[in-house]
Symmetry: C2
Subunit: 152 residues, 2 copies
């Protein structure tokens, strides 16, 4: 049994590639950003993203089909019923991706002195940062990584 190398993984086997084919779409990523900021409604997304209603509708339904979002009907008194789009657990887990995008943007695209978005720890107000952690809880240096094929 020949040992599999990372390069040998087919497109079907590579988690990165699989994820990209699920969410690696500009509009889906932007909608995820909206969801993490707390927006929920069709017109919020539409106004914020400047996307056509047809594309927005398709993308929202794609995200529902893929288990990232679910629709919940609600109604305010004296108003017609509406829908909000909420993250599933699976969709919520993409927060790591969104935060990674944010950190990279803050580091490389946002000028010093300009307002920008950041994630703080709720209880303490402390700034946070994504870090790779090993099994003992220690930090792993970004340059000390090894790719491997494993079986979960």
């Amino acid at each position: 049994m020949k040992k599999l190398e990372p390069r040998d993984l087919s497109r079907d086997q590579c988690p990165v590639m699989k994820t990209i084919s699920t969410v690696g779409d500009r509009w889906i990523l932007l909608i995820l950003r909206e969801c993490f900021l707390g927006f929920k409604r069709f017109d919020d997304f539409h106004d914020n993203l400047g996307v056509s209603t047809s594309v927005l509708s398709i993308k929202l339904n794609t995200m529902i089909d893929r288990g990232l979002l679910y629709r919940k009907q609600y109604r305010n008194e004296g108003r017609r019923s509406r829908f909000e789009y909420r993250l599933t657990g699976m969709g919520w887990d993409l927060i790591k991706v969104v935060i990674a995008l944010m950190e990279w943007g803050n580091e490389h695209l946002i000028k010093k002195g300009e307002p920008t978005l950041d994630i703080l720890e709720r209880g303490t107000g402390q700034d946070t940062k994504l870090q790779l952690i090993n099994e003992e809880g220690g930090r792993t240096d970004w340059y000390e990584l090894k790719l491997r094929v494993i079986e979960k």
Copy 2:
């Protein structure tokens, strides 16, 4: 001076949005994956990704223009000169994004028992995982987050 809320950031000011407009493109994400796996050459990308040469050429040049990659000419003895495409420091920093995509894929898209890709710590062989860390070095719970507008 009215305090800015995260929701008030314009598209130009939001780091997530800015990053998405830089790299939130399926082909660019896939090319990044290739780069992180160590592939460097036009034909590697072409074979692995099943992308047309025209799109690949455009995307590679886009990534060069945006500072994610640079081209380096090289030549093996007895062969014609070729080009390899290497990550810049800026491009390397997107490793957080790629790892986040990988972790999500491993959690939600790869079946148990199937081979998949993982990141280990080089010196110890220990498994690693992305985690949010606060200023004191402690872990921040994924549900204890607060979005804020700051100035870097």
